[in-house]
Symmetry: C2
Amino acid sequence: MLSHAVDTATVDGLDGLTIGRLADASGHSKSGIATLFGSKEQLQLAVVAAAREVFIDRVVAPARARTPRGLIRVCTLLGDWLDYSRDRVFRGGCFFAATSVEFDAKPGVVRDAIVAASSEWEDYLTVSIEYAMAAGELPLLDDARQLTFEMVSFLEAANTRSLLHTSEEPYRRAEVALRARLTSLGGDPELIASIGAAPAG
Amino acid sequence: MLSHAVDTATVDGLDGLTIGRLADASGHSKSGIATLFGSKEQLQLAVVAAAREVFIDRVVAPARARTPRGLIRVCTLLGDWLDYSRDRVFRGGCFFAATSVEFDAKPGVVRDAIVAASSEWEDYLTVSIEYAMAAGELPLLDDARQLTFEMVSFLEAANTRSLLHTSEEPYRRAEVALRARLTSLGGDPELIASIGAAPAG
DNA sequence: GAAGAATACGAACGATCGTACTTATGAACA
DNA sequence: TGTTCATAAGTACGATCGTTCGTATTCTTC
């Protein structure tokens, strides 16, 4: 039920969601959906929370389980993010890439929730980079937040451009960009090569 | 009239535009707007065309007029883009950053128009980079399109994040990222320093 | 000055929006 | 078995959506 809502929100936007269409798609009645969530705004908040769960399951949790702290985990996170976008876990690509832009100029609790979830992800990536720094794996880096900005820039650009042009090429561009930047910071080329190396890794 | 439509489209989206609100805001009647454009889709196309004109006037034309071909023009284009976003030429930031994401999963003539205008801009940036390459000003670069991808990634990320957090910091992050990348490609540091150097240049 | 096209208007169309209110349905519990 | 309470359905509300119609006004052109 919510998963379908998250899916269509990545295509039509979080404002493009309507209780009526959601009811039809799920087989329930319109008033059933309306009373379940209370209001459209609360529905939007529930959708953001559901998308956050999926994102954690698809990107953060696997990387935590598979790789130890350090540069290898940073590379795994980046690769898993690209897979999460490439595999079209949501029809319209990354949920937060879509809704961040939709709500970036619309103050309110929905934007706050989107910002909170996005910040959570970027904070985690920043901390992961800091572990790599502490381990001496990125000797030429002095500002983890700056690198986070650059990495997520590539990720989201690849997501949007892949959708716009229905092409896989932007993902390859992002992989090249990620590897080049990490290499320029003194990262181990062997670790870095894991980005975009295997279909699922 | 159209300028107000472009403005609100960057906030509420191109689908969020309504003929009724547009009529109220412009003092015209609802049917006056409707017959003027024929349909909502044609209104959206007119808005895209109007935004394209503004973008050219604010970013492309000034750089062409002010600087010669080569790395200096590339830097000017990038700096002017950041100013175009930072100055809130449109209330919701860059029009194409907003509408590209809105329509990236919605096939149709509107998306086609957005893709065409965006491609036009990126093609121009790519050609500008190629002039710099031909002049030997980026000796370590071998793929202009790859650099274009990386540059616009930083630009659009700064635009969205500045709006999301109502902060100027993302622009400084983008400037740092742009300069670092151009420097790593062997660009003249003195030219590159022009990005983010002066308030208007 | 008369005839024509072009433009903007008010009014209304059916459809859909978010929401509120009322009525069954059904499980939990005394 | 009878009562309670939450869940969902049905219905209806006012508002707004995009669009169409017929009409009035303005401007061009002969």
